[in-house]
Symmetry: C2
DNA sequence: GTGCCGTTGTTATGCGCTTAGATTCCGACC
DNA sequence: GGTCGGAATCTAAGCGCATAACAACGGCAC
């Protein structure tokens, strides 16, 4: 692996100028057939690979889109990693941990980018030095998609001064920060209505935070359903997806007292699955003793026993939509954020609410 | 969004030279505290985001690692996309299509890269122009991981002249092309032995290709087990993961004739799941009428009915190992490929081989 | 007052590519 | 034979940053 071949090397080898070499790769029709062949032959012989850095610098665009997501979704805690020594163990399978919401959204981003000819850049955490990681990613791309809360708000604003940004789960803040709208409210309202009306549940605990507009909308749907049913609306019990200890503590607090509710309505599937684990570990039966519901519709919910009642978000579509919005914004730098129809979520009946096993769409 | 701020703008604003601005971000200790603060303040005010293109060009390294994978794994065929109008439908959930082998490996790559401070670049297909897509990705990164067969072999060789390459499922070709070794043979041998010894199956069809060394090793394990049992070894019936029509045709060819085998041993889970579908559609019961086994251990196998008997590969670990090998190679350009201990695969007992439902590790 | 040294900044150059504009080539046509 | 015009190619000027080499400055011992 000697020094990397450059346009100069190819040009010399082919007996043309560097401009011609460049044209062969960017505007082939501008170059005569015979010349083109000579250049391509030289390029092949030298193992020439154009430098995207140089190209990006010269053109002012990189042709890549960045995706910045949560840290905790990526690094499983030590306790989740099974010992790989056991021959029966599922080596590195974390059905509870993968794929989660962000993974499925990411997939949508990848698909759409591939279709549109953009490369996808995923951020690396813990950047050495003083530069926050999101800034580092932003420097490499023509547009950035970021999950709300995954990066400091002021960093996002700083980035948005340079390139268009789509923040998932955030609110449209103008200033070049767009968002993808998903109707979380209706899904959670339907789910809550089901619990109240069809199961007659009354003592309800809402588990989850109000950290982003999405989470607020979920609680809002919950509140609506209870209000319309003439029931009191409990304040949310703080919990955070990925922060298992807090979730477990919040749940077990109710165990063994007179205060065990009829149902834990969780703001995410992740929290719901952890809650089910904690309740089961405490000797309770879900849903016989207490029901649990989630939100997101991740695959792990379908693998769980009981099968999780939840609200499914169109995760892949969220990712695809984000890319479309972003590319639109990149193409028309001046334009303000164009609104789009909110994507809809779907109430998914499982068993964890107390319904009987049914013909679930498995496989 | 006016013109993007550069070092020059920041320098002017802070009243220093561009070198000083650069030092603040790359060698902070070389700059006096007060100057540093002034520069950072100016950078923040201007929304300065360093250009990775310029940085990469100047330094000769980009700080990113590329991952190039199959196309067919990413774009589901139209028939797999459920109509999103139905409120009950799982919107965009493709449990049969996601996550597959490549997705889980990708996850390992992401995790390891994040840990080591590298950004991950995913290739976009259909690059406009004459340059194969993999070359485009290669130009953006310091090292490339590619699935064997995902790109033209000569393109891989060309890339390897410029940057280190790890090819997954390929063979170590020297020339800067490394690979990750996984013991596929033993897993397939154990699985085949189980079919022959514990289920007494004799009429066996092996479904799959021999396109890469990995697939050869699988067939080899299959062959070994049969030979040791004194049974004849059938030639593989060609099939390719992702090419469903071929797989379906290969399977249905045996249906309705006297030639229906006892078991279809498939070279991947994907093919096995498709085979099960085809057999079920033909009115047969799996495993009562005919058994089916897979290879890989993807999540979809656990969601299927019957639960798939397979061999699980340490997919996440494969990704992580690939990154480690790659970074080693990038750090010591001269060194040859350092061998590593092969990763082991694990035989996973499911129901599709004819075993009774057991306490599977679900959830 | 002079010479030395460590600290803090600056100047100047080049990384490999794109592209506007200049130049050359070549055949058609007067 | 000379001229013109388009096609083909080249020349040259950056793109934004890192960094080697160098300059300015102050403190300090003599």
């Amino acid at each position: 692996m000697q020094r990397r071949a450059t346009v100069y090397d190819v040009a010399a080898q082919a007996g043309v100028s560097i401009a011609t070499v460049s044209f062969v790769f960017t505007q082939p029709e501008r170059v005569k057939q015979t010349t083109r062949d000579a250049v391509l032959a030289a390029a092949g012989a030298l193992g020439y690979v154009p430098s995207a850095s140089a190209r990006g610098l010269a053109k002012g665009r990189t042709g890549a889109i960045g995706l910045y997501s949560y840290d905790y979704l990526l690094e499983p805690s030590a306790s989740d990693v099974p010992s790989s020594s056991s021959p029966v163990a599922f080596a590195d399978a974390h059905p509870r941990l993968f794929p989660l919401y962000a993974d499925e959204v990411q997939r949508g981003v990848q698909l759409e980018c591939r279709q549109r000819g953009y490369a996808v850049m995923l951020g690396a955490g813990r950047t050495p030095g003083h530069m926050p990681s999101v800034i580092d990613v932003a420097g490499r791309v023509d547009g950035l998609i970021a999950f709300a809360g995954s990066a400091p708000p002021d960093a996002i604003i700083q980035v948005s001064k340079r390139i268009p940004v789509v923040e998932l789960g955030g609110e449209s803040r103008g200033e070049g920060i767009r968002t993808v709208f998903v109707d979380n409210r209706t899904g959670m309202r339907l789910l809550t209505e089901h619990l109240v009306r069809d199961h007659g549940l009354r003592r309800i605990v809402y588990l989850g935070g109000l950290g982003t507009p999405e989470f607020v909308a979920r609680y809002e749907g919950f509140r609506e359903a209870l209000s319309e049913a003439g029931l009191p609306v409990p304040a949310p019990v703080p919990s955070h997806p990925g922060d298992d200890p807090t979730t477990i503590a919040a749940v077990t607090h109710y165990v063994g007292t007179r205060t065990l509710p009829d149902v834990f309505v969780c703001s995410t599937d992740q929290e719901a699955l952890v809650a089910i684990d904690a309740l089961t570990a405490a000797g309770l039966d879900v849903p016989a003793d207490v029901a649990v519901t989630g939100f997101d519709g991740i695959l792990a919910g379908r693998l769980s026993h009981p099968y999780l009642t939840t609200v499914r978000q169109p995760m892949e579509e969220i990712g695809r939509t984000a890319v479309r919005i972003l590319i639109d914004a990149m193409d028309q730098p001046g334009e303000g954020a164009t609104e789009h129809d909110p994507l809809s979520s779907a109430f998914v009946l499982g068993e964890s609410c107390g319904c009987r096993p049914a013909q679930h769409h498995v496989g």
